[in-house]
Symmetry: C2
């Protein structure tokens, strides 16, 4: 639903009168326990609400009148949580389903980078995000994706956002700012397109969000000097401190939970919570969203790692509101928007009640209103534009008896490796510890499947294919057997996009994602169940080895904008070095 | 000088290159000691600057090239101080002189409410503020005065800012926000004019600054619910906590230094510095500005009262920048504006060097460039529009033998008092412990002098007259002898405005303030010396008794917008109760 206008004069005049007891509040929350996000202290208070506005937070001893009363029964009152960086698409459900999932957990605001929809569908993906955000009980601040594609020249996707596109998107009032600038390397090298994109973002006067994966020292300074304000790609406590010192706003994320203990320790060591620390989810899989939630899980984990609850909630509310430049949000205080939750336990974010714009919007884990069935625009449908694949598409061609193969060694943080392999009948024979990865353009380029060889990815039995593959979301297939890989790939196309697991030559698990090849039309429960089945099936195929070799790594293996060699639809690429190899066969030894 | 444009693409591209060592910095500050305003920690660092931008803050071990080098010799580097609420007029010098005084003390940004000029000269006063701010090495963010006059209907001044005036001012890009809303009482009562002014401010989307003197509980909530964001009128630690809990930004001010120990204790008790705490000067007299400075004195005092230096500087820099919504300011970090100072001792703000927009602007206590002599517009000259006064103007007329007089009892926080006095020849005879105060309209109203009787203001010998008298700045005269009061009043008119002390029938000290009757054309040293002479002469006339009966109380005695009865040019007024008495003679007992 559209936000209530807090500049309305009558509303404010009523709030001024009600705060003084000259007229009744519309709603009075009695007997709340405020955990004050400014002082860090707790106090008993009643919250008087007029329209969408908090008019008064006052002592429970004061008698005030209201049209409607609501007994908080001593529950904690906390501002609605703000997720400062996320992609709804990663949860593989529609924004409607997403709102239905997170609002009851106390999340009332998310900053959505519809980067995945934009990579698949171009500006139509952003239009969809903006349009769908209008009618939800969740406040969605939509960003303009800045990296479509994420590594221009090193991958192809379904959109092409040049500086003019970005300027156009940022001129729209519904667009909150520029989304994570993943094109770090071209920016640092003075690439004209990326420099122009950042220039358009600076001139818009809106926020410029970042993705500073692996940047340090001069590179990090250069990135911040360009005007990029935030980062969520921290991989160590040293990263965290470096970004705080660089004046950046950090977005601690739930998606990399193994890092949270060291982040918590580093903040405890500082002795205070900097105002530049906020929380985000980034990417949350459907089963995780259903079972643990995103923001609630992050809050729970950070508290369990020793951070004071007041710090954690402050990061998720007041700090976030300040940094996203929404001074109406983030506090339970007069003059602010009435967005808050009532919950009994700080260490577990399971609010009994969630209010937004002064209205009860969720109760005991469910929205108070059923949302309309979403309309999906045609531009987001039937996005798998490629012809059926055959096992030969996944073979690696070579001549002679033996070939040197350039490998991608290690999941998540790939480095170049090399292996010598036998060649039989002009086909490379891979030893059983090597896994094949293939990426096939799904935007009608008609280019052949590119095949890479992965080292240290464990032993695989079967194949996995996905139309979700950050960030270009080309069809990506993993496996050892080319035949099984072809079966998996074609099954994904038959679904109009999705995830498929093949074992012993046949499909054993699948999830249909017909909206842009990223998102299901089904509800979260169904998607989560199917996704959990995929995960379980994959557990049978691969011996995962955390924190690097994990299921999640499959979806980021083609994330070309990050450091290190990667496979994209144009070949084996290393944008940081300018490398493009169409084949992994580098030499006959 | 106009601010450098940080959205300039070439500038940013050079900064990105320089941060990586691909081209030289314009300026490299070597061997600085950063007190980090985010982490609170100290570290050695070099600061690389390109144009007006900080491009890099990096380890002193890293070798980087620059066109120009500057050795900080281990001095602390701190962001330029930001004064979040002040009136230049209170220092009785021109903005040029003010800049020359404060910039060398490390103040690079002030948020100026030209409320005094506006009260005397109307919109022309604001125009002057905006125009004069353009050419200074001090960043002046000009606010739109919202209370001209401060108590409509209870005083008359030289301007009349209705909602349309405010909307017009706020539509100007040079106007940063709406200045302190002193019209608390009419706002709380729903007065149409004040409600319209706040409505215009809210609709502008700009900041709304406050003045919540004495507000608590429902009244404070109502004030915040109207959208007012800040307050500097704290009179106790309880006030401080109440405002923090109300989500307001507090501006701790140097002008009420006796309150600082309890503010410091309250913050220490919180255990952290809320991001909503900033520092300001509000009103600083010329001799104090010269001798102690405003912001530097406040920083020194707060540290001396036990606050960690990192907290105090954070309040004055990063917190302030966040709350005035200037994300280019307040940090020494890449991508921020190069506004900073180098100083050797944190507990005394005596910077050796001050930089702004990447240029050295002050060195060892003085600006590096001589400022142009200011042009004073005609609208600000010859503002004493009244005819010569006679001793009879200061007499209190009554009939009969005895009269009951309504008195203003107690300086600073006046309350109604009453005294019975003898009447001789239709003139009230005051006992020697009572002091006369008179206010005479100086904007051509032609109304008679209004006379009040002050209790608990000590024993006076002689008279004092001033055209500086908050906030309407009508001619205000204090004394016991009507003849001496007339001499003082006429001397102020002869000066075209100013301050005059009369003793034994003759002028013993005077300060000419011909610019709007508020500001001198002389330099700070001269003004401070003359002002100190006034102060000294007044010390001879009055036995001051701090904290209430102090010299400063003379200038605020007519501040009608604050609670309690006051004397204005229309009579004895109490706007909170709606009282207007044209004479202090209330009854024949």
């Amino acid at each position: 639903m559209p936000e209530a206008d807090l500049t309305d004069r009558k509303l404010r005049e009523r709030a001024v009168a009600a705060a003084q007891g000259k007229c009744p509040f519309d709603l009075l929350i009695k007997n709340a326990r405020i955990l004050d996000m400014v002082t860090g202290r707790e106090r008993q208070a009643d919250i008087g609400i007029v329209g969408a506005l908090i008019a008064s937070v006052h002592s429970v001893d004061r008698t005030t009148e209201a049209v409607q009363y609501f007994d908080a029964k001593g529950a904690f009152a906390l501002p609605g949580l703000i997720d400062t960086h996320m992609h709804i698409e990663s949860s593989m459900i529609t924004p409607q389903e997403y709102a239905a999932a997170v609002v009851p957990t106390g999340v009332t605001t998310v900053v959505w980078d519809p980067h995945e929809f934009a990579n698949v569908c171009g500006v139509a993906g952003v239009d969809y995000a903006i349009a769908t955000a209008r009618d939800l009980p969740l406040r969605i601040l939509t960003l303009a994706p800045t990296c479509v594609p994420s590594a221009p020249g090193f991958e192809q996707c379904g959109g092409d956002f040049d500086p003019d596109t970005i300027a156009g998107l940022l001129s729209r009032p519904e667009v909150h700012g520029a989304a994570e600038l993943m094109t770090m390397q071209p920016l640092l090298e003075g690439d004209a397109r990326v420099s122009g994109i950042v220039d358009a973002a600076r001139k818009s006067g809106k926020r410029i969000c970042g993705h500073a994966r692996g940047l340090a020292d001069g590179a990090l300074a250069a990135y911040a000097a360009a005007g990029v304000e935030t980062d969520h790609e921290l991989t160590s406590a040293a990263d965290l401190i470096a970004r705080l010192e660089a004046g950046m706003t950090v977005e601690l994320r739930v998606s990399h939970r193994y890092l949270l203990p060291e982040f918590a320790a580093a903040l405890l060591d500082l002795g205070h919570l900097p105002q530049t620390v906020t929380l985000c989810t980034d990417d949350v899989f459907p089963d995780e969203l259903l079972n643990q939630g995103g923001m609630p899980e992050l809050v729970r984990l950070l508290i369990s790692h020793g951070l004071p609850a007041a710090w954690v909630y402050q990061a998720a509310t007041f700090n976030a509101a300040s940094k996203i430049e929404r001074k109406d949000l983030g506090l339970i205080a007069p003059g602010r928007r009435a967005d808050f939750m009532l919950l009994n336990t700080l260490s577990q974010v399971c609010p009994e009640y969630v209010f937004s714009d002064g209205c009860l919007i969720a109760e005991n884990g469910a929205l108070t209103e059923v949302l309309k069935t979403p309309q999906i625009p045609n531009a987001l449908c039937q996005t798998m534009q490629l012809t059926p694949l055959q096992s030969t598409d996944f073979e690696i061609k070579a001549t002679g008896q033996e070939a040197q193969i350039a490998t991608l060694s290690q999941p998540r943080f790939p480095v170049w490796g090399a292996r010598n392999c036998l060649v039989k009948e002009n086909i490379v024979v891979l030893p059983p510890d090597l896994v094949r990865m293939a990426v096939i353009n799904r935007y009608g380029a008609g280019t052949p499947a590119r095949v890479a060889v992965l080292e240290n990815w464990g032993f695989w039995r079967g194949a996995f294919a996905s139309s979700v593959s950050h960030d270009s979301h080309n069809l990506t297939v993993f496996g050892c057997d080319p035949q099984e890989m072809a079966v998996a790939a074609n099954a994904v196309c038959d679904l109009d996009g999705g995830l498929v697991v093949v074992e012993n030559g046949g499909v054993v698990a699948s999830l249909s994602l017909p909206i842009a090849g990223l998102v299901s039309v089904n509800n979260l429960e169904t998607v989560a169940k199917n996704f959990a089945n995929i995960r379980k099936a994959m557990d049978e195929l691969v011996d995962w080895s955390p924190p690097l070799l994990v299921f999640k790594a499959l979806f980021g293996a083609s994330l070309v904008c990050n450091a290190g060699p990667r496979l994209s639809d144009v070949g084996l690429v290393d944008p940081f070095n300018g490398t493009i190899l169409k084949s992994c066969v580098v030499d006959v030894p």
